[in-house]
C-alpha cells in the first residue's frame, strides 16, 4: 500500500495489509516472495539462485530460444519442465533448479548446443569470459556423445565495418537479432535458412551498419560476434578494468574501460538503470582508439621554426607570460577562455577558478556556438527517466540518433514499450520521425510557427494536457541562430504549463562545465562574442581549453579570422587540432581513461571517471595545468589532488552540495546535481525570420554521429565511416536544379561557395538543403554566417 492509501482514512487494524503484488514461491526449497508477473528466472535471481541462460537478457523481451534455463517447476499440477525465462511466477510455485531432472535437462541442452560448436576456445576472443564456456564447466555433461562431423562455415565474415560473424560458433540465441530489431530499430540481421543450416545473416550486400552494432558483440554469449578493434588484442584474464563514464556525448553512459599493458583495448557498457541500460553507441564504444592515436605528448612552444617541443617548465612559463602580457596590454577582459566541455568537472572547475578569480576575465564559455544558451539549464529540468515516463515527449532539437544515440534508444523504448507519444518538430526527418505520433517538418526559422500551429491543434493540445510533458530541447540546425529554437521552447512552455525540459546539449561534459563555472560572468561574452572580439583585434590572449573553433564553431570564417586576430593563443589539448596549430603554446592534456574525476551528463547526473592508463607522454589533466598556470600568475588554487577539486566543487558550487566523494562512492548510478541559481533564465526571445527568396534554399546543417572530429578521425576503426560532405535536396528540387543525383553542384551563400555532390533525399523538405557538419572533404562552416538568423544558399548546376 503506497500511493493509493488515503491519508484521511487510517487503517482499521494494525495487521499489515497483504501486498497484492506479492507471490509466495519456493526456490530450491527456500521460501521467497516474488512480484506478480515476474519471470521465474528473475525471481530466482532475486532469491540468490542463478539459472543458466543464453538467450535471456533482462533488457530485452524473452524468447525462450536456447532452452538453457529449463527448470523443474511445480505450480500445483506436479513437477513440470518449465522454461524459466518465459513463465511468470505463480502462487506456491516450487522451483527446483538443481534437482536431478533439472540437471539432466541442462546437460542435455548443453550437449546439443555443443554438438556443432567448434570448441576453438584457444583462439577465440571470448575464451575466458564466455557464458557458453562457463556454463559448460558448471552445468555441462562433461562428455559428448556426438561423433559426427560438425557443420562448417567460412570463418569470420565481416557483416559490417566493425563486426565479424563466425557462424560456426553461433548458438542461435537470438540476442543480436533481437537487439537489432527491438532495441536499436535497425533490423539488419536476421535468421536465415532452416534447421541445421540456420544462421544469422544480413540481407545480401546490405551490411549491419548500425550505430549500435557494438552492443551485439557485448551481449553475444559466445564468440560468434567479434568487434574489429578488439579482435586478437588481448585475453580476458590479462585485462584490467575500471568503471568510468563515456564522455563522447552528454548522455554519460556508464562503461567499464579495459586495458592491458597500459593500453586501452576495450569499452563495455555497464547497466546503469537511469541512463544507458548497458547500451553504448559505436562511437562511444570504439572511440577510445583516439586516446592512443596522434596525441600531443609534450608541450609545444612556437619558435621561428614553428611549434617546437619543450619541457613543461618552459612551456608553462610561456603560457603564463602570454596571459600576463595579454592582461598588461589591455586589461583582464582582453583575455578570453573557450572550452572545458571535453574534460571532467574538476578540469572545468579549476579552469573556471583560474579564469574568473585569477585572470579575472568575464569572457569564459564552455560551448562552441553550436548549442543553446546556458540559460536553458535554468528551465525546469527533466531527467532521462522522467522523459521515458512522460506521456508526451516533445522533440525540439537535434536528431537524437545522430547526436545523443543512447538517449535515442531510451526514447525509442519509451515509445515502443510504454506507449509514450512523440510530438516532433524538426527541420528534416530524424531517426525518430517514423516513431513520432505527430511530426512537423519545418523550414529553418519556422519552428515558432510550427509550435504555435501544434498548440492550436485540438488533438495535440489534448495530448499535451493528458499527462506529464517533457521537451527535449537542443540545437537542431547549426546554420540558423539559436534564437528561433529558444523562442519555440519558450512558446511551448508558455502553452504547456508544467512541462519540463531535458536539455539536449551534445558535448561530453558541457553541462558540468557550464554548471561549475565555465560560463561568462555578467558582461562577459559567449563564444561567438569572444571570436568576434578576437577577429576585431580586441583579444590579446585567447585560451583554448580542448576547444577547436575551426572544426566545431559553425561559422568557420569567423573562427579563422578570430585565430588570426587574437594576438596570443594558448591551447590545451589532447591532439594537435586545426586550431591548436595556430597556438603559441600547446599544453598536452590527459585524455579519457587517463584521468580520474567526475563528469555531469545532460540531465545533471554526476558520475565518476576512471583512470586506467598512464597519460600519453608527459600530458597532464587539465585541472593540474590550470593550477600550475594559476601558481605562475601568483595564486595558489589550493588543489593538490583531483580529490581536492572534487571536494571544492561540492563545497563551493551551488547545486553540487550533495555531490561529495562519499555520495559518489555510495551510488553506482551517480548523484543528481542542480543548476546553480546564478544561471539566469533566458529573457523572452523574439526572432524576426527573413522571407526566403524562392530561388534560394534554406540551409539545414546538422551533425552526423561520425564526422571529421578528433575522436572519429583518430579512431582507425571509425574514421572511414564518416559519410563525407554532400548536399541533400528533395528529389523534385534536384530536378529543379537540373542535375542528376550524384552530380556536383555549386552551393553558394553570402559568405562563400563550395562544390559538392548532390543527393536526392525525400526526407528533406522542399526548399531546404541539408548538409552534414564537419565532414571529411569539405567544410560547410565556410557557408554559415553566425550573425544571421538563417542561412540561405543558392544551388547551381556547374
Amino acid at each position: 500500500m503506497t500511493a493509493t492509501e488515503n491519508a484521511g482514512t487510517p487503517p482499521t487494524d494494525d495487521a499489515p495489509v497483504p501486498d497484492p503484488n506479492a507471490v509466495q514461491i519456493t526456490v530450491n526449497g527456500v521460501a521467497h516472495t516474488a512480484r506478480k508477473g515476474q519471470l521465474v528466472i528473475e525471481a530466482a535471481a532475486d532469491a540468490g539462485v542463478y539459472i543458466p541462460r543464453f538467450c535471456y537478457h533482462e533488457r530485452m523481451t524473452p524468447v525462450g530460444k536456447c532452452r538453457m534455463c529449463l527448470v523443474e517447476a511445480d505450480s500445483g499440477r506436479g513437477p513440470a519442465v518449465t522454461v524459466s525465462c518465459m513463465v511468470p511466477v505463480m502462487p506456491d510455485m516450487k522451483v527446483e533448479t538443481e534437482s536431478p531432472m533439472a540437471k539432466r535437462m541442462q546437460e542435455g541442452v548443453l550437449e546439443l548446443l555443443l554438438a556443432n560448436h567448434p570448441l576453438d576456445c584457444p583462439v577465440c576472443d571470448k575464451g575466458g569470459e564466455c557464458p557458453l564456456q562457463d556454463q559448460t564447466m558448471t552445468h555441462g555433461p562433461g562428455e559428448s556423445r556426438f561423433v559426427e562431423e560438425k557443420r562448417h562455415y567460412e570463418k569470420p565474415i565481416p557483416i559490417s565495418d566493425l563486426v565479424f560473424l563466425d557462424r560456426e560458433r553461433c548458438i542461435l540465441c537470438d540476442r543480436c537479432t533481437r537487439f537489432a530489431d527491438e532495441v536499436a530499430g535497425d533490423a539488419l540481421i536476421h535468421f536465415i535458412s532452416r534447421g541445421n543450416t540456420t544462421q544469422v545473416m544480413t540481407f545480401p550486400d546490405e551490411p549491419f551498419a548500425s550505430y549500435f552494432s557494438g552492443n551485439t558483440v557485448q551481449i553475444c554469449p559466445v564468440g560468434a560476434l567479434t568487434a574489429k578493434p578488439y579482435r586478437f588484442k588481448a585475453r580476458p584474464w590479462d585485462l584490467e578494468e575500471i568503471e568510468s563514464t563515456c564522455t563522447t556525448c552528454a548522455v554519460g553512459c556508464r562503461t567499464v574501460v579495459q586495458s592491458s599493458r597500459d593500453e586501452l583495448l576495450r569499452s563495455q557498457g555497464v547497466d546503469s538503470d537511469p541512463v544507458n541500460w548497458g547500451w553504448m553507441c559505436d562511437k562511444g564504444r570504439f572511440g577510445f582508439e583516439a586516446v592512443r592515436t596522434e596525441r600531443v605528448t609534450e608541450p609545444l612552444v612556437r619558435t621561428a621554426h614553428g611549434l617546437e617541443p619543450t619541457g613543461w617548465n618552459a612551456a608553462l612559463r610561456s603560457a603564463v607570460q602570454l596571459i600576463e602580457d595579454g592582461k598588461l596590454a589591455a586589461g583582464p577582459s582582453a583575455v578570453a577562455v573557450i572550452g572545458g566541455a571535453r574534460g571532467s568537472n574538476e578540469d572545468a572547475f579549476a579552469w573556471a577558478r583560474l579564469a574568473h578569480d585569477v585572470i579575472d576575465t568575464p569572457h569564459v564559455y564552455a560551448q562552441m556556438g553550436d548549442g543553446l544558451p546556458v540559460g536553458m539549464l535554468a528551465m525546469p529540468r527533466a531527467t532521462i527517466d522522467d522523459t521515458a515516463a512522460a506521456s508526451t515527449i516533445v522533440l525540439l532539437g537535434p536528431d537524437l540518433k545522430e547526436e545523443l544515440p543512447v538517449l535515442y534508444l531510451r526514447v525509442r523504448d519509451a515509445v515502443q514499450k510504454r506507449r509514450v507519444r512523440i510530438v516532433e518538430f524538426t527541420p528534416r526527418e530524424s531517426g525518430l520521425t517514423s516513431l513520432a505520433w505527430k511530426s512537423a517538418v519545418y523550414e529553418p526559422g519556422g519552428q515558432v510557427e510550427a509550435v504555435r500551429a501544434a498548440l492550436a491543434d485540438p488533438e495535440i493540445a489534448d495530448q499535451l494536457a493528458a499527462g506529464p510533458v517533457v521537451v527535449i530541447a537542443g540545437r537542431s540546425n547549426l546554420a540558423e541562430s539559436s534564437g528561433a529554437t529558444v523562442q519555440a521552447v519558450q512558446t511551448l512552455l508558455a502553452g504547456v504549463p508544467g512541462a519540463t525540459v531535458l536539455p539536449a546539449f551534445r558535448r561530453g561534459n558541457v553541462v558540468g562545465a557550464l554548471q561549475v563555472g565555465m560560463r561568462p560572468r555578467p558582461g562577459g561574452l559567449d563564444t561567438r562574442g569572444i571570436l568576434q572580439a578576437a577577429a576585431d583585434g580586441k583579444i590579446e590572449c585567447l585560451v583554448l581549453v580542448g576547444a577547436d573553433p575551426l572544426a566545431d564553431f559553425p561559422d568557420t570564417d569567423l573562427a579563422r579570422r578570430a585565430l588570426a586576430g587574437a594576438r596570443r593563443i594558448v591551447s590545451v589539448d589532447t591532439h594537435l587540432s586545426a586550431s591548436a596549430q595556430h597556438a603559441d603554446v600547446v599544453l598536452p592534456a590527459a585524455a579519457f581513461g587517463e584521468k580520474s574525476g567526475t563528469t555531469t551528463n545532460l540531465e545533471g547526473r554526476v558520475t565518476t571517471l576512471g583512470r586506467k592508463v598512464t597519460a600519453a607522454g608527459t600530458s597532464r589533466p587539465d585541472w593540474m595545468i590550470a593550477t600550475a598556470i594559476a601558481r605562475g600568475l601568483g595564486t595558489d588554487l589550493g588543489f593538490r589532488s583531483v580529490d581536492d577539486v572534487t571536494d571544492a566543487i561540492a563545497r563551493m558550487v551551488d547545486g553540487y552540495e550533495g555531490v561529495t566523494r562519499d555520495a559518489l562512492a555510495d551510488s553506482a548510478d551517480g548523484v543528481l546535481s542542480a543548476p546553480p541559481a546564478t544561471i539566469a533564465a533566458i529573457d523572452p526571445v523574439e526572432v524576426e525570420v527573413p522571407v526566403r527568396n524562392s530561388y534560394d534554399y534554406r540551409l539545414v546543417v546538422t551533425r552526423k554521429l561520425y564526422d571529421a572530429g578528433v575522436t572519429v578521425s583518430n579512431s582507425p576503426s571509425l574514421a572511414h565511416l564518416a559519410p563525407g560532405q554532400r548536399v541533400h535536396l528533395h528529389p523534385l528540387d534536384v530536378e529543379r536544379v537540373g542535375v542528376q543525383p550524384g552530380a556536383d553542384v555549386r552551393v553558394s551563400s553570402s559568405r562563400s561557395a563550395a562544390v559538392m555532390r548532390v543527393e536526392a533525399d525525400p526526407t528533406v523538405l522542399r526548399g531546404t538543403a541539408w548538409i552534414a557538419f564537419n565532414q571529411p572533404g569539405g567544410n560547410v562552416g565556410d557557408l554559415i554566417d553566425s550573425t544571421a538568423i538563417v542561412t540561405d544558399v543558392r544551388i547551381e548546376n556547374l
Binding site: D181, A187, L188, I189, H190, F191, I192, S193, R194, M201, T202, F203, P204, D205, E206, S439, A440, V441, Y442, E443, G445, G446, Q447, V448, E449, A450, A453, V689, V691, R692, S694, H730, P731, L732, P762, L765, R766, G767, T768
Partner: protein
C-alpha cells in the same frame, strides 16, 4: 508570400510537407512487377501476406532475386533481412533462375521404398545435372521433394507441375525426352 515562393513548393513554415511516394516504381521498368503489385493491392499490403506475396513473385519471375526481395520488403514495410530470412526458410523458394523445365522427384518414404533414388540417379547422369541444380545448357532443373502426399502413386515424378505416378527410371527418362523435345 509571393506567387513565386508558392511555385517553389514551399510553405513559409509550419505544416508537414510530404510527397506521396505512391507505389515505388521499379527502376528497371520491368512490367512483371505490376503483377506483384496487383497481388499487393489485393491483400492491402498486409505484412502477414509476406509468404503469399513471395509465392506470387516467384510465379511471376521464376525465382526470387535480391531485387524482387527488396521490392517486396519495401512494399510491405518489412526489414529486407527479415524477408530474406523468411524466403530462405522455405524449401519452395528458389534464388537461382530455374531451367526451362523442372523435374521434381519425390524422395518421401513411399517413393524411396519404390526406388526414387534410382530415378534421381539416372536422370542426374543422363542430363548431367546435380540435384538442386540446373543443367549446363539451362534446359533442366532437377529437384527432390520430401513427400508430395501422393504415396499411392509412388514413385512420383513432377514434370513442370504435372504429376506422373508409378514411374521407373526408364519411364522418367522417356517422359523427359518427350518434354525436352528428344534432344538426347
Amino acid at each position: 508570400m509571393s506567387d513565386t515562393a508558392l511555385e517553389a513548393g514551399a510553405s513559409a513554415s509550419g505544416s508537414r510537407h510530404t510527397v506521396d511516394p505512391g507505389r515505388p516504381e521499379h527502376p528497371s521498368g520491368d512490367d512483371r512487377f505490376a503483377l506483384v503489385d496487383t497481388h499487393l493491392r489485393r491483400v492491402h499490403d498486409a505484412q502477414d501476406q509476406l509468404i503469399e506475396t513471395l509465392h506470387v513473385a516467384q510465379d511471376v519471375f521464376g525465382f526470387l532475386s535480391d531485387d524482387v526481395l527488396l521490392y517486396v520488403a519495401r512494399a510491405l514495410r518489412l526489414p529486407p533481412s527479415m524477408v530474406y530470412g523468411v524466403a530462405t526458410f522455405y524449401h519452395l523458394f528458389t534464388f537461382e533462375p530455374p531451367g526451362e523445365h523442372t523435374c521434381t522427384v519425390c524422395t518421401g518414404t513411399a517413393c524411396f521404398v519404390k526406388g526414387a533414388d534410382d530415378i534421381v540417379a539416372d536422370v542426374a547422369t543422363a542430363h548431367g545435372v546435380h540435384v538442386g541444380d540446373t543443367s549446363a545448357d539451362g534446359r533442366l532443373t532437377l529437384r527432390t521433394a520430401r513427400c508430395l502426399g501422393s504415396c499411392g502413386l509412388a514413385p512420383v515424378v513432377v514434370l513442370d507441375g504435372v504429376v506422373h505416378g508409378h514411374q521407373s527410371p526408364s519411364g522418367a527418362l522417356a517422359l523427359l525426352d518427350g518434354e525436352l523435345g528428344g534432344v538426347r
